[in-house]
């Protein structure tokens, strides 16, 4: 009903044409060690338009998924070499994600990320990658585990990096006689293993998380007779470092109100616009600070406890 009302509001009139629909307020790019990149973005679309054409960051794309603010999977069709047409039918905010093959290239041992887009984006480099050249000044940078995360400005950017920090110079002579005690990993492969193992571990983690989720559709079983520990926002901040100040404010408010509140209440109490709050809770969910629980037509935001569902 709420959805229908929202659609009605949107289409009964023709106006608000000045709104910047189609803007990409936030794009995140994660570069994998094999040169593929995963892209996620939120796109504001005009609810009065039945469809929307979204530009892609490359031409070779797979695993494309587009959902609207209600979690509805949107039908998508290739509209050009690097664009997709989405059937939005009244949606106002669309989240897209896909893997792209052609924004990272490799020459010898140097990888090069190249992109030229008209909005800022976040770029997460592969774990252990060392940037050895770039032609744009990042607006911000920090580290996430072994990965460098860059907040990149709009415009052309080219970033060269290496993932294998050991250099071999040709010609490489085969070892004449292996040393008797040399049973450990040899130079390059040892370094690569250091890079590969966290990846494999990450994949295992993701896999375990999926298994846990797929086997626990109703969320964690309640512990009868057990009182949950009181929620301390500082504990959440310690567990999830690097949260933005405005996101910490959300976490504090939820902790002070029993650990779970509705998204609409958060909007009202913290005086944030709908899309800003939506983005903030999505961000907190991605960071592992909260869980978003869909209830009928609204979202409940719950602090994720240590060891809780991922």
């Amino acid at each position: 009903m709420v959805r229908l009302a929202a659609i009605l509001i949107a289409i009964v009139v023709w106006g608000a044409a000045e709104a910047s629909f189609g803007a990409l307020p936030h794009t995140e790019i994660t570069v994998y060690p094999d040169g593929l990149a995963h892209v996620t973005a939120q796109v504001e679309v005009d609810p009065q338009e039945p469809s929307f054409v979204v530009g892609l960051l490359g031409t070779a794309v797979d695993s494309f998924v587009a959902v609207d603010e209600d979690g509805v999977l949107l039908a998508a069709e290739r509209a050009g070499v690097s664009s997709m047409e989405l059937e939005t039918f009244g949606s106002g905010l669309v989240s897209i994600s896909y893997d792209v093959h052609d924004i990272v290239s490799k020459d010898g041992r140097i990888w090069t990320f190249s992109l030229d887009i008209d909005h800022e984006y976040t770029l997460l480099m592969p774990g252990g990658a060392v940037i050895v050249g770039m032609n744009a000044i990042p607006r911000n940078l920090d580290t996430v585990g072994e990965s460098v995360r860059l907040e990149m400005p709009s415009g052309p950017a080219e970033i060269s990096y290496i993932t294998n920090t050991a250099r071999s110079v040709e010609p490489v002579a085969p070892p004449a006689t292996p040393a008797p005690d040399d049973d450990g990993p040899s130079g390059d492969s040892g370094t690569l293993m250091l890079l590969a193992l966290p990846l494999a571990a990450g994949a295992v983690g993701a896999f375990l998380a999926i298994r846990a989720r797929s086997r626990r559709p109703g969320g964690p079983a309640p512990h009868i007779g057990e009182e949950p520990e009181p929620l301390d926002p500082e504990a959440v901040f310690a567990r999830v470092p690097g949260l933005r100040d405005e996101d910490k404010e959300i976490v504090r408010y939820i902790c002070e109100n029993g650990g779970e509140v509705s998204e609409s209440r958060l909007r009202k109490k913290l005086l944030r616009p709908r899309t800003s709050m939506w983005r903030a809770v999505q961000r907190l969910s991605r960071e592992g600070a909260v869980d978003i629980i869909k209830r009928d037509s609204h979202n409940q935001i719950r602090i994720r406890r240590e060891g809780g569902p991922q």
Partner: protein
């Protein structure tokens, strides 16, 4: 030895968090310093003189980042240093070789598949589609173990995962397509009502008779359309027609009215407004509609402006 030195440097650098900054010279210096250290580790005495020259020039620029008088100068030094290191690495790269490592490749593929599968599981829950379950879980576990063991059979396992995930995506897509068709019909029905209202108010909205005829013809086609793509096409025609008829002003006001109505409803639900206040809001909105239908857009706008000012004070 170089390898272990490189790893030690990487670990040491990883332990030092890069400062968060908006083009902060300290953070830029740290990033450029990483490239410099990596270049120093990798440069070989046999490399061309140009490589050594570039590294020396780059080092000067790295140090200049921190000594820059402002952020702009720091940025210029950063870019210059990175340009020199980049060129040096390109020259070093000419004799370089990269051993391929399948383990890294497979681990990345598995990580992406796990991420994609996780996304599909959420969608499956939304659409009530049964997940592949333990068969796929077992394949993920098998692939993980194979990667850790360096087992080349992981390629076949990943292919099976890819196939099963693809089928799962198709299942979800099939269910979603049915609901998509229903959404399209609901959306079309709202546009049909909207067209009818425009036709009813054609005189007040200064819509000429041929415009009304066109609207009625489009309404009939839209009411009969069933395919989402056809509905999209017809609605795009309506949008173009409305642009041609310049129906912007009245429609903007009506959009604002609907938004105001929603806000008032939410305020009532949240207890910000009581029933009496909400009834007063509704009465004002009814008056607004009367003014709109009578074609008095200025009066309608005034009513709405006052109402919104009052609501914002609650």
């Amino acid at each position: 030895m170089r390898v272990y030195l490189a790893v030690a440097v990487l670990v040491a650098l990883a332990a030092v968090p890069l400062a968060a900054a908006d083009a902060d010279p300290v953070a830029l210096h740290k990033l450029a310093k990483q490239a410099q250290i990596q270049a120093q580790i990798q440069v070989d005495p046999a490399d061309p003189p140009r490589v050594h020259e570039l590294l020396a020039l780059g080092e000067v620029r790295v140090e200049a980042i921190l000594n820059s008088t402002d952020a702009e100068a720091a940025g210029e030094n950063f870019l210059a240093a990175m340009q020199m290191f980049s060129e040096a690495f390109q020259l070093m790269n000419e004799n370089g070789q990269e051993p391929e490592d399948d383990q890294i490749y497979y681990a990345a593929v598995l990580e992406r598949q796990a991420r994609y599968y996780g996304q599909l599981l959420e969608l499956a829950e939304t659409y009530g589609v049964e997940a592949p379950g333990e068969d796929l879980d077992a394949l993920f576990a098998q692939a993980t173990a194979q990667i850790e063991a360096g087992d080349p059979d992981v390629a076949a396992t990943l292919e099976r995962i890819n196939h099963m995930v693809g089928l799962f995506r198709e299942q979800i897509g099939a269910v979603a397509a049915q609901e998509d068709a229903e959404r399209a019909l609901e959306y079309a029905a709202l546009y049909v009502k909207h067209l009818e209202r425009l036709v009813d108010n054609a005189e007040e909205l200064n819509i000429p008779p041929d415009g009304v005829e066109l609207m009625l013809a489009i309404r009939d086609r839209l009411a009969a359309a069933t395919e989402p793509s056809e509905i999209i096409s017809i609605i795009n025609e309506i949008i173009t027609l409305k642009q041609d008829l310049d129906l912007v002003k009245a429609n903007q006001l009506e959009l604002w009215m609907r938004q105001t109505q929603t806000t008032a409803e939410q305020m009532l639900q949240q207890g910000v407004l009581d029933e009496i206040e909400y009834a007063a809001v509704k009465a004002t909105l009814d008056r607004f509609l009367e003014e709109l239908e009578a074609g008095d857009l200025d009066e309608a706008e005034t009513l709405l402006t006052r109402l919104n000012a009052w609501l914002s004070e609650q």
